[in-house]
Symmetry: D2
Subunit: 252 residues, 4 copies
């Protein structure tokens, strides 16, 4: 079971334009720092946060307790001009877990309610011993073929096209997909089979002419699983492994 926390800024949209639109640069600074803080706070408990839409962030939180969530919620209130709410759920797949996390939080009121503040809506927690599976995916040959030779924006568009195709392909297999910078993506993918991932990669190669590889990690929490995924990816890059998928599992 993978545990997902949906993090939602309370009543953010109205705040950004009250009493008049706030300066765009300030909002960008605010959002990226809030994400950095959430990442720092959750990861020190073993979690991992994806910025997603910045006002609705998705985190893998196996091992992060209700008490931890309360303290993080409190720290954010003490540092920012706004507050956050959480929906927490465990599922067999990340798609299922985020679905339940969204549902339980939506049940507590609108994201734009003036009264819904600092909710922690719990569907379920993962149990100790249950594992997280994460794939770190990147694009082959991106520095030579793109960054050093094509205009920056065209590479950016290409990366986004690949992202959307990955999102669509992986969603059919019940896995989520997030952009993490450069030409890198992370997919919380409990239950995903190697042949399913290969199939998604094949379709993207046929549609876009882009080839991908994936290092996969399995561990007790997202922090360790993502580290193993990075090590797996290095094995492929270093040609220690044939093919485009490598898996490492933390058995302890």
């Amino acid at each position: 079971m993978i545990q997902i926390t949906l993090i939602q800024i309370d009543n953010y949209g109205p705040w950004t334009v009250t009493p008049k639109p706030r300066r765009e640069a300030d909002l960008q600074v605010l959002q990226s720092r809030l994400y950095a803080d959430l990442e720092s706070l959750f990861s020190s408990k073993g979690g991992l946060v994806f910025f997603s839409r910045f006002d609705n962030l998705i985190a893998i939180t196996n091992g992060v307790t209700l008490e931890d969530h309360k303290q993080i919620q409190n720290s954010i209130k003490n540092r920012y001009p706004l507050t956050i709410s959480f929906g927490i759920a465990a599922g067999e797949t990340s798609l299922e877990a985020q679905y339940k996390a969204s549902h339980v939080l939506q049940g507590s009121g609108s994201s734009r309610s003036e009264v819904r503040r600092e909710i922690i809506a719990v569907d379920s927690f993962a149990q100790s011993g249950e594992k997280v599976k994460i794939a770190h995916i990147d694009i082959n040959g991106v520095t030579k073929g793109f960054t050093d030779s094509k205009p920056a924006y065209e590479n950016y568009v290409m990366v986004n096209e690949v992202m959307v195709e990955l999102m669509k392909g992986l969603k059919e297999k019940n896995a989520l997909l997030f952009f993490i910078g450069g030409d890198n993506f992370m997919s919380p993918c409990n239950g995903l089979k190697d042949e399913e991932l290969n199939q998604v990669f094949d379709e993207i190669y046929q549609n876009l002419g882009i080839s991908l590889k994936a290092g996969i990690g399995i561990a007790e929490n997202a922090d360790v699983a993502s580290q193993l995924a990075d090590l797996s990816l290095e094995k492929i890059r270093g040609k220690e492994i044939e093919g485009c998928i490598c898996i490492l599992e933390n058995k302890y």
Copy 2:
């Protein structure tokens, strides 16, 4: 003429995996803080930065001088374990400007070179008095129709699909497009005509069933233009204006 600065982290890819892969959460914190700092530093000179791929960022920098660029480059070196290089160019359109900015920076060496550090490669600067045009685009009815009713991840996928369609449509009209959080996008769009933007919106409505609106600002720099764009968007939201496009220009 719009002035674009391509910001590139020097030799970032190798750094992230040397001597072994660095912790993913630390990299996420690093990237988002670097972006926040660049946004804060450039915007205090009138610029505006988009995070793009985080290791290759694109900024609108009309009014930001060579001296300002040097000081920002220096401040980043003094605060971070890495350095950045710049390519600077002005163009009739944002697509042209980023093309020239990319080209001039690529001419100074590879993004993964161990010796290319802290370059400022200049193609051209915009002149005083030249204007920046920015469109702030958002999705109609996203809170009711999506955030409060559908799973968080499905909304995130939808926003990304809209983004890629906007990117493709606007690129044909020589405009760039960036995601800025929530259901919001910004497009530096010098030279873009209203009917061209309407046409892009129509196609997206036909393909995805999603309707969009745009507040546009025109001013001497990106900081002011983006503020005007936000005010324009509020006029549409408040139904002070019919249609889905509103323009405000700073004539002084």
Copy 3:
């Protein structure tokens, strides 16, 4: 036993002037952010950090393990252009613990060595169940008597004079003292008796005409002890308690 970690930036002095003096504002930003990060990282493990001299910081770290120290050291390296070393020791009093922590770190090389990097020098760790005692001290009537009526700098000098007197008085009783902003101080003070603290306060009143109060907390770690100290101070402020000292202890 109280556990103290001495945090030292490696070879910081030379770095600040190499190849030429770095911009003062950048150094101030760097130092205060480094402190904020250390505070955030240590406190999520139950610790509490005082900025002290900014290049040599002192933390109370009961409950923070060797593994935690390694991860924090690593996160700092991944985010900053410099690295840090630690000396760790437990003692009956905070003065003793910092003495041993300093000694063990100094034994591993100079703070200005070019080769001494990322040391973790361990004298001893506190055991589970051992308690931390912290006093939160503030100045009576500072808003009316000083902040709202006297020049800002004169108040600042007064606060510093009180600080140095507190430092001297408490050091004789084997307790440390740190400024934490406003008119507030914190003293890790295992072993300090109420009458000793009263005696220090009396001397300061006689020398400087300034009267002080202290909320004290005792708990399994500094995070909880400081919270109890704050609650104790509120009891005095709210006149729930007579006198200028109040103690709360976490018995669980």
Copy 4:
């Protein structure tokens, strides 16, 4: 004339304990980040901020306009759970300027008022062409004599004793003094003569046995003056200059 801005967090004390005392670590993170942001924002306009008491900060702001102050005030409101007010004044000496800046701000209401928010109280601005004089002072032989050989806390106490003596001595000469980390201090010191500074140093040597040196910079704003002060100090450290005081002036 030197221009000083007193920066005051609005109603901060009550906020820190409402509805109950906020977590000490969160407050420390908040204060140090607020300082880092103020430093970054003011310095990009040529100013320099000293953290002072963290809730009352003193900045040298020659060249920072009323409009700049408004934008900084606004950016802080957009990023933090609290707001700040300013008192601005120019004076022949820094002591005089801070006196007038304090007075004009105090005239607008209490620092703990629930209604006084985001004030900009102006006594006077410095004129273009007027200079700032800053001394960067440090302690001779601190690494060998203290950091590497004595306990960290004893060094910290020593630095604070030196600071208070410097504060007292310099105040009689109408100059302010701030700690900036390590064994370093900065003194905005318009009007201070070399022999006066020498006299202060002599007294401290006689009282505490500590010898000091000062690099001094004179320039159109604090950012440049502090850079010159740093270069002056390097000249003394490098023995390019005899004695313990060196002055560099930006004549352009």
